[in-house]
């Protein structure tokens, strides 16, 4: 995990784009012209549809596909029946999503951090299998995890019914590995020298854990909390398989069932609220991360961190 925009031109991002465009006009034979066009078209193609979907949450009419005028409030709180504020189903789903994401974050992060520490430093028998085991949830299709958890709660852990509890347990199961990946990356870059120094200065192992290692790991812990929150709040499959019915609906489940039938713009509104929340959480985590790692930044680290946020190395 690393920082996001430390090499960003502070004088305005658009100056860069403008510069490229001018360069393009001046030098039409510049090599990467086609590549650049493809890249920007790709960006537009991935992002604009979502922006359009958010825009439809401000539709004045009942359609999510035909623009019927602008109404900033109708589907958020204006409509007395169908707006997010007045539809108890949508509200319950919003709370359920936040509840799952929050609990997942609080449970998966400590377990994952400890596992990362253990895996990074444990020598000898059992390390490789444990490492292997940790990677599996990352590559297992969600439907396979959904089926297995669904069946294990039905036949083995019979005291847990499909419920919020089951949903949290399921989400924690696949979140742990993400925490491990992020925290372990940080541990590798820290190395052991700080703790060794602390030991030389006479710190006990507990003190060196608490006073040296933990503060150094804190940025990664925060980053992984944010990632867990984000993947949990967007999770659909596990939440659906372990759902107890209407009372366990999360926003993605609501979006799914509404999209399959005839959604109202209130669905766009509630999905948009999730986007705002997730982006807000990411931004908050980013600011905190910057704050905690101030002074250790090296120019050029930013991209590495960025690419790590979404991708997972198998090694």
């Amino acid at each position: 995990m690393n920082t996001i925009v430390d090499t960003a031109p502070r004088r305005g991002l658009f100056a860069g784009i403008l510069h490229r465009l001018i360069g393009l006009v001046r030098n039409p034979h510049g090599k990467p012209r086609a590549l650049m066009t493809i890249t920007w078209l790709y960006m537009i193609w991935t992002i604009v549809p979502v922006v359009v979907a958010i825009a439809f949450s401000f539709n004045a009419g009942r359609s999510i596909s035909v623009w019927q005028g602008f109404d900033a409030t109708r589907w958020y709180w204006g409509d007395p029946v169908h707006s997010v504020l007045h539809d108890p189903g949508l509200q319950a789903a919003l709370w359920q999503s936040l509840k799952l994401a929050g609990l997942d974050m609080l449970i998966a992060t400590p377990i994952g951090v400890l596992l990362a520490l253990g895996l990074a430093r444990w020598r000898g028998y059992g390390k490789r299998p444990a490492n292997f085991l940790m990677l599996f949830p990352l590559i297992t299709p969600e439907i396979v995890m959904g089926v297995s958890l669904y069946l294990v709660f039905q036949y083995v852990y019979v005291f847990i019914d499909p419920s919020t509890t089951a949903q949290v347990i399921g989400q924690v199961t696949f979140s742990i590995s993400y925490v491990v990946i992020v925290v372990r990356g940080r541990l590798m870059s820290i190395g052991a020298q700080y703790e060794e120094a602390a030991a030389d200065l006479g710190a006990s192992s507990w003190d060196s854990l608490r006073l040296v290692l933990f503060p150094l790991m804190l940025p990664a812990i925060l980053a992984s909390m944010m990632i867990v929150f984000a993947i949990s709040i967007d999770n659909f499959v596990i939440a659906q398989w372990l759902s107890c019915g209407a009372g366990c609906d999360t926003v993605p489940i609501k979006v799914y069932s509404a999209t399959r039938s005839a959604p109202l713009p209130s669905i766009n509104a509630v999905a948009a609220i999730m986007v705002y929340l997730t982006l807000g959480a990411v931004l908050l985590a980013f600011v905190l991360y910057r704050f905690l790692t101030r002074g250790e930044r090296v120019k050029g680290q930013a991209e590495g961190g960025l690419t790590q946020m979404g991708s997972v190395d198998f090694n």
């Binding site: 009419g61 009942r62 359609s63 019979v158 019914d161 759902s243 019915g245 209407a246 009372g247 399959r260 039938s261 005839a262």
Partner: protein, 429 residues
């Protein structure tokens, strides 16, 4: 197979299962609990095996058909007359979105209790949860095709009619003692619906009601490819293909009939590539679907709740088959054995059969008609509740005769056959 042999076989199966479960480290108590939960335990009940005849359903109970009424065995005694309603929290078990919230609130206010709703996604889940004691509920919605299973599993308690005067007073006489539960020992009816064809009058050029075989519209819907749909339940989809061929035994277990229906359904994929879903209650109005196998409540919901601004109600049409030629079904309320508040449960049944409440639940929320005497097509049209052209969405008591078509309990093998054929259809193979 003689009765005794049958019974023996079942006992052997049961012993085998207990044995196996114990071998795998389950305590006897756990094993028994699991078996009771799975419904196996009932096979040893002598009461149950004694009533077996002919083709039997789960637990050896006879299979009810409209022309073959069944009296379900009594499982204990109903509650005594004149008991006082309990206090505390009263829990209703139902589908989500299948009950108007005001009805619950009114009931709570009337008897000074908290009322809460616990939901299930489908009937399988409902029965499984009741069987496993996974829920604590006081009254439950149930469909007649599951009654055999749940009474065999002793999941319901008999009801005392003295608490439910509205059954005699308000409900269609045909349902005072329905074929699936002679004497209404366990159930009162809730809503009644037909399966027909919902379509867009402004998009479909054929005059469906006047076609020789309206069901065949799906097999002639090349023009409407991408806009047709079929219900995503094994019984309804395969049943549609059977009706198309003029076969009206919708509880058949004849493999040839089922295979033929499957072939016909597969042919549909080439003809109009139907969607297989249950969203017709809104997509017809919205225009995502023009021709969809529908239940009679769906067109009303389209018109009442989902019609886009400025679109005429005439655009939504519903065809139902003539009497005895198309499916008509109803669902019920029953009191689970586990109910802690059986008196309130009885009062609930009476409450929901109050004409005013039933009507309000129907027109303000579910779109599904209760079988109540005062609710007639003419009256609904006169007071403007439903548009005249949708009077087809309303059934009448005479529709429920002994020759009516209803999807009912099958034998276990039969059920697998239907499910398997359906799975083949939706695999698109």
């Amino acid at each position: 197979m003689s009765e005794e042999n049958n019974n023996d076989g079942q006992n052997k199966t049961l012993d085998g299962v207990v044995d196996r479960l114990q071998k795998h480290g389950m305590s006897r108590r756990q094993a028994l609990k699991a078996i009771v939960a799975s419904g196996l335990g009932v096979t040893v009940s002598p009461l149950v095996s004694r009533v077996a005849w002919g083709a039997t359903g789960p637990g050896g109970l006879p299979l009810a058909r409209p022309g073959n009424p069944v009296t379900l065995p009594m499982n204990g005694n109903p509650i005594a007359d004149g008991l006082k309603p309990e206090s505390g929290t009263f829990t209703v078990f139902n589908y989500a979105d299948y009950l108007y919230k005001s009805i619950l609130d009114d009931f709570g206010a009337k008897y000074d209790v908290d009322v809460q709703l616990t939901t299930f996604a489908n009937m399988d889940q409902c029965v499984t949860k009741l069987a496993n004691n996974d829920v604590e509920v006081d009254v439950t919605e149930i469909t007649p095709d599951r009654l055999t299973q749940v009474t065999a599993g002793k999941l319901l308690q008999p009801i005392n009619h003295s608490y439910i005067p509205n059954l005699e007073k308000n409900v269609w006489p045909e349902l005072h003692s329905p074929f699936y539960d002679r004497g209404s020992r366990y159930t009162v009816p809730y809503a009644i619906y037909t399966t027909g064809i919902g379509y867009r009058g402004d998009k479909i050029s054929e005059d469906i009601p006047n076609m020789d075989n309206p069901w065949s519209i799906f097999w002639n819907a090349q023009e409407y490819a991408g806009y047709t749909g079929i219900l995503n339940t094994p019984r309804e989809s395969i049943g549609l293909a059977m009706l198309y061929r003029g076969k009206t035994n919708l509880n058949t277990e004849n493999p040839d009939d089922i295979d033929q229906a499957l072939e016909d359904l597969k042919a549909l994929v080439e003809i109009c590539n139907p969607q297989v879903n249950m969203t017709q209650y809104q997509t017809l109005a919205q225009g995502k679907s023009w021709l969809h196998q529908s239940w009679s409540g769906d067109p009303l919901m389209n018109v009442w709740w989902y019609l886009p601004e400025g679109q005429s109600a005439e655009s939504i049409q519903y065809w139902k088959a003539p009497r005895g030629m198309g499916p008509i079904q109803n669902d019920c309320w029953a009191v689970p054995q586990m109910s802690q508040k059986p008196v309130l449960a009885h009062l609930w049944m009476n409450h929901i059969l109050e004409s005013k409440n039933a009507m309000s639940n129907f027109v303000n929320f579910t779109g599904y008609q209760p079988p109540i005497n005062s609710i007639t097509p003419q009256q609904l049209i006169d007071d403007g509740t439903i548009p005249k052209h949708l009077s087809t969405c309303i059934s009448e008591p005479e529709d429920l005769g002994p020759d009516s078509l209803q999807y009912m309990t099958l034998t276990s093998e039969g059920q697998r056959m239907w499910q398997d054929a359906y799975a083949r259809f939706v695999s698109g193979a």
